[in-house]
Symmetry: C2
Subunit: 340 residues, 2 copies
Amino acid sequence: MVLRGDRVTLAHGGGGRAMRDLIEEVFTDSFEPASMEDQARLEAAALAEPGARLAFTTDSFVVSPVEFPGGDIGSLAINGTVNDLAVGGATPLWLSAAFIIEEGTEIALLRRVVATMKAEADRAGVKIVTGDTKVVGRGAADTLFVTTSGVGVIPPGRDLAATRIAPGDVAIVNGVLGDHGACILAARGDLALTSDLQSDCAGLGHLMEAVLAAAPGAKAARDCTRGGLASALNEMAEAAGVGIEIDEAVLPLRAEVKGTCEILGLDPLYLANEGRLVVFVPEDQAEAALAAMRAVDTGAGATIIGWAIAEPAGLVTMRTLFGGTRIVDMLVGEQLPRIC
Amino acid sequence: MVLRGDRVTLAHGGGGRAMRDLIEEVFTDSFEPASMEDQARLEAAALAEPGARLAFTTDSFVVSPVEFPGGDIGSLAINGTVNDLAVGGATPLWLSAAFIIEEGTEIALLRRVVATMKAEADRAGVKIVTGDTKVVGRGAADTLFVTTSGVGVIPPGRDLAATRIAPGDVAIVNGVLGDHGACILAARGDLALTSDLQSDCAGLGHLMEAVLAAAPGAKAARDCTRGGLASALNEMAEAAGVGIEIDEAVLPLRAEVKGTCEILGLDPLYLANEGRLVVFVPEDQAEAALAAMRAVDTGAGATIIGWAIAEPAGLVTMRTLFGGTRIVDMLVGEQLPRIC
C-alpha cells in the first residue's frame, strides 16, 4: 500500500511512479492481467478454427451519476460491451478498459467501480486484459468516464444480422423495459421522484447462448440501450426492409416505470435498458427460444412482443390498447442525456 | 447532407436520428466500416496460423489543445494505439474509436479530427472498424476525448518482452527526443513561447517491421510516450532486472527542445514523444538494426544511445557530458498534464 491520499491528483496521470502506483493498487491488483506490458498478448485458439470470425466493439460510458441503484459506471462498461458482442453472436472473451478521471475524484470511488467491473467480468466469463488511465484537471471531465472495448469469437457458421429478418419472424424481449432509464432519472434526484427501481444492467452472454442453442435459426438480436426498444426495432426494420409490428397489450412494463413516464411525458419505448435485448427468431422456433430464455436468470421475464411483417417496410408500428395502430418512430432528439 | 447546425448538441448523443446522422456523416462516411452493425465481424485468417497470438491494447487521449503543429488528437489516437501494438511485435490490423464530445464542439473540428484519423490509419495499414459517440453537457468534458483500442497479430515465434533484455544488448532510439512534449507546451500559448516545433507523432509499425527483419534477435521495444524515454527505460530495466546506461553526449535532442527545457526547468528525458521508440537488440545485430531503421522515414534519426549492463540492476544511469554518472529515476509526479 503505497498510494498516498484519498483523491486522484494530476500526478496520477503523468506516466511516472505515482501513475504506476495507482494502476497497480487500484487496477491491476483487481484485474490481474497476465503481464504488465502495455499490450495484452493472447493465445487465440478459438480463433484458429476454420470459419471462426473475430468480433470487436467499443463503447464509452459517461453515465451521471456514476453510481446508482443496481449498478455503477463499471457494471455498464462491462455489460454494455459484453452485450454488444453477445447480440452479434460472439462469445465474449477479452475486454480493455480505459479510464478518464477528473482530478479530485475519490480513490475509494475508483476502487468500488473497479470491484464492480471485476465481479461483472467474472460473471460474464471475460477477462479484462489491458487498460489505460488518464487524469484531467478539475472541470475538464465529470468525475469518471470509462471506455471498454471487447473482443470475442463468432463460431463458424453463426450469422446473426438484422438484414436476415423476414416477415413472420417473431420478436422476443427478455424482460421488463425501461428500468435502467427510469432508475437513472430517479437517481439524479432533481426530479423529486423517489423510487425503488433498480437498473436492469446485466450481462446477456449466457442468455444469447441459450437462445442460439434452442433456436439455431435465430436471425438477429440487438441490445436495447440508448434510444430503447423503439430505436433498436427501427434500426432492424430499416436494415431488413421489413415492417415490425408490436402489441402494446403485451409489452412488459412495470407500473412504476409507466407512472414515471406519464408524469414526465416520456415514452417507455425509448427508455434506455442495459440488460435487455430483442431477438428475432423464425416462428416455428419462437416457443423453444422463449422457454430457453425463461430458464436463464436474465431471461425470466421473456415475452413475445411482436413480429416482422412485409408492409409497411422499414417502419415500426404498434397495435395500441385502444385497437388502433400507431407508428413508433425513431427518436429524433435526446430523451435523457448521459444515461449510459 | 442532413446534419443541421455547426455544433454538436446533446441530441447528437441520444441514440436517435440526430445521433445517426452525425455518425453517418462525420464518422462512417470517412471510416467506411463494412457494416452498420454495432460490432465489427472480422475474418481472422492471420490469427488462424498455428502459434499466432492476438495483441490487444487501448488508450484514451485527452490532449489539450486538441489540434497542434504536426497533428491533432486524432493522429495521437491512431498512432498511439498502432505503436502500442507494433512495439509488442504485433502487426496492427483493426482499430476501434470512441468519442466523448462536449456539447457545443464545432462539427468542423470533428470532421478535421476524423479526416486525420482516416489518413493516419491508411498510412499505418489499419482499418477503423467500429466506434461509439457520446455527448456530454457543456463543462462536463473539455471539447473532445478519443479512446482507441487496437487488435493485431503477433506472428508465430515472435516474442518481444522487456524481461528478455540482457547485459550487452544495445539500446536504439529512432530520432530526436521530446518534440511532442515541447510542441504541446508551446501550442498552449500560456508560456509566452513561440516555436517552429512540430509534434513527432507518427505510426511506427513499418519501422518495427524493418527492425525485426534486420535484427531478428531484437529483445524488446517501447514507445516513449508519457514520461518520455526515462520512464520507458526505467520500466524495462526493472522488468529485465538489468541496469541500463545511456550516454548524454549522443542523445538526439534539438537545440530548441533543450532550450525550452532549460527555460522551464524540465528534463527532456521525461518529455513525451508520440513517434519515438527505444528498441534493445543483441550487440551483434545493432548495426544492422540501425541501418534498417535509418532506411525508413520514421527512423531517419536512429541513434544508439546506450546498452544494458549487469549492475546496478533495475536502475537507469547516464554518463553525463562532464564525465560523471547520474541516476535517471522514474518520474515521480506529473511533468505536463494532458500531453496525450
